[in-house]
């Protein structure tokens, strides 16, 4: 009478997970496996798609763009997120709750709405260029969209919350007494920051940075809208191969390379930090 997750049989219980499991097998595992297998079967059996992908300057440039943008975005978000999370962790709650509300609002606002805002702000006649000219930093409009500068700005905007939230959690858990001890031992503020606070926050910085980096690697929407067609990143390459060129072999190969890099970085994160992703 008692069913699978009631007291008498709490020992088993895989049963209720079956619907979700079947759904993922049918519409996630098999399609992804099928896509990857096409990279070695189309147009004919072999590794020539990978040879083309890794052997041509055009495709290497795309991978280089992807790594460059992801690295710069990660660096900038770390530089902004560290002081912000530090301040959030020690601010009076009234102030920090306002900032958290703003962070959540920007995170939850429709991705296309946010990207649209940047497309308008960064265009030749846009507000950013007019301000830059107004304060005399430049005498003619800078090219800020349809290139990797625009992509970087748009991506930093999107990734910041993903850096701030975990880092805040880590700094929040640091015992203030440790820093008092540093002060009692005669450390100056700079020394305490360099030799106590930063090392204690380092795991948070590293895991946040890895997450932002890996999310940036596979990002599609912002690069496609702010980067223009001549500055592609890997996700756009996959879409272009499949949608415009109907070249499933190359699309699958690019997807496989992106997948391997993504999983490798998560594996490093699991190994080094021993925590689950997110």
């Amino acid at each position: 009478m008692l069913s699978f997750f009631s007291p008498a049989r709490r020992g088993s219980g895989l049963g209720t997970a079956l619907p979700a499991l079947l759904l993922l097998l049918a519409f996630f595992v098999i399609p992804v496996a099928a896509l990857l297998s096409r990279s070695i079967t189309e147009p004919e059996l072999g590794l020539h798609n990978y040879r083309t992908l890794l052997g041509s300057a055009t495709y290497l440039q795309i991978f280089l763009n992807t790594f460059m943008v992801s690295a710069v975005v990660t660096l900038i978000t770390v530089l902004i997120a560290f002081p912000v999370s530090w301040a959030l962790a020690i601010m009076p709650p009234r102030l920090s709750s306002v900032i958290f509300a703003i962070i959540l609002l920007s995170m939850w606002t429709n991705l296309l709405a946010r990207t649209y805002a940047w497309m308008v702000l960064l265009q030749q006649t846009g507000l950013v260029n007019r301000i830059l000219m107004g304060i005399g930093l430049t005498d003619r409009p800078l090219q800020l969209t349809n290139n990797l500068v625009g992509v970087t700005i748009g991506m930093v905007y999107i990734m910041l919350p993903f850096m701030i939230l975990p880092l805040y959690g880590v700094i929040r858990k640091i015992d203030p007494a440790v820093l008092q001890a540093a002060a009692l031992c005669g450390a100056t503020r700079g020394q305490a920051l360099r030799r106590v606070l930063l090392p204690l926050a380092a795991p948070g910085i590293a895991s946040g940075a890895l997450m932002v980096f890996v999310m940036s690697l596979g990002y599609f929407v912002t690069p496609a809208l702010l980067g223009g067609t001549s500055n592609m990143m890997v996700a756009e390459l996959i879409v272009q191969q499949v949608q415009s060129l109907v070249n499933w072999g190359m699309g699958g190969a690019a997807a496989f390379v992106l997948l391997v890099i993504t999983l490798a970085i998560y594996a490093v994160q699991l190994r080094v930090f021993g925590t689950e992703v997110r």
Binding site: L14, T16, P19, A101, I103, Y116, L197, A255, E276
Partner: protein, 266 residues
């Protein structure tokens, strides 16, 4: 010292300034599109000379925008229900089952969340081309369900882990049938987790772009797909109007979520 806001000295002002600048950086683009949507400049000159509602007029006059919003809403509601039901069932197995490979199964359930969504989109597109699911409501629902489910499972498992199953046992000992105990004891106790999972799932589906671009057909598209195709042509202020309505919806859902959290902590 460094973790005491009042003893930071001059650093307190530096940190506060960085925080304020970052808050402005995050907030300004959102305020900017709201302002643009009420401005009269087709060329998006800021600040606008005059205020107008004509972009909202254009938005509502075009049946394709309304049709897209309706499609989005239907898909998001179906995804929300399925994601909570499947998520609850899977979470029960993950938190209460003791079968081997439970941790592996949990990691497996979360993989769609960590893989680049573009890979899932292209893979599903290929599969759906064969199955004839492209451009159908079912195709959208399945695609969105795959990426919404991990969030649902995380939220509901979290709620289940804080609920002591012996309370359910107690109800059964007091004469409740197992199903009665589950519906009248366990579900109410984790209702905040179910509500959060529902809101998350709805928002994920409602806002999802990449999968939707691949699932869409000329006759069936969601709101983000409509925004996307319009954006690729020009930066018309009609998009600002649509975006502003989306921001309003986001704020509404944030307030609902905050009220749920408040209800939970009380």
């Amino acid at each position: 010292m460094l973790l005491d806001f009042d003893k930071l000295g001059a650093w307190k002002w530096i940190l506060s300034a960085v925080c304020a600048l970052m808050a402005l950086f995050l907030l300004l683009p959102i305020l900017f599109i709201v302002a643009l949507s009420f401005g009269d400049s087709r060329w998006l000159i800021f600040p606008p000379q005059n205020w107008t509602l004509k972009w909202y007029g254009e938005l509502f006059a075009d049946p394709r925008w309304l049709a897209a919003a309706w499609t989005s809403a239907r898909i998001a509601l179906i995804v929300m229900v399925l994601s909570v039901v499947l998520g609850l069932l899977a979470s029960l197995a993950l938190t209460r089952g003791t079968f081997r490979g439970r941790a592996v199964l949990r990691a497996f359930f979360l993989t769609p969340m960590v893989l680049p969504v573009v890979i899932i989109a292209v893979a599903l597109y290929a599969a759906f081309l064969r199955l004839g699911l492209n451009g159908t409501l079912a195709g959208f629902v399945i695609a969105h369900l795959i990426v919404a489910l991990p969030f649902s499972i995380i939220t509901i498992s979290g709620a289940l882990e804080t609920f002591d199953p012996s309370i359910e046992d107690a109800a059964i000992l007091c004469g409740a049938s197992p199903w009665e105990a589950r519906f009248r004891v366990t579900l109410p106790a984790i209702s905040h987790g179910l509500f959060s999972a529902a809101i998350f799932s709805f928002l994920i589906s409602w806002d999802e772009v990449v999968l939707a671009i691949f699932m869409a057909s000329p006759t069936l598209q969601t709101l983000p797909v409509k925004v996307w195709t319009t954006l690729r042509q020009d930066l018309t202020p009609v998009i600002a109007a649509a975006s502003t309505l989306l921001v309003a919806l986001t704020i509404l859902l944030m307030i609902v979520a905050a009220l749920i959290r408040k209800g939970k902590s009380r």
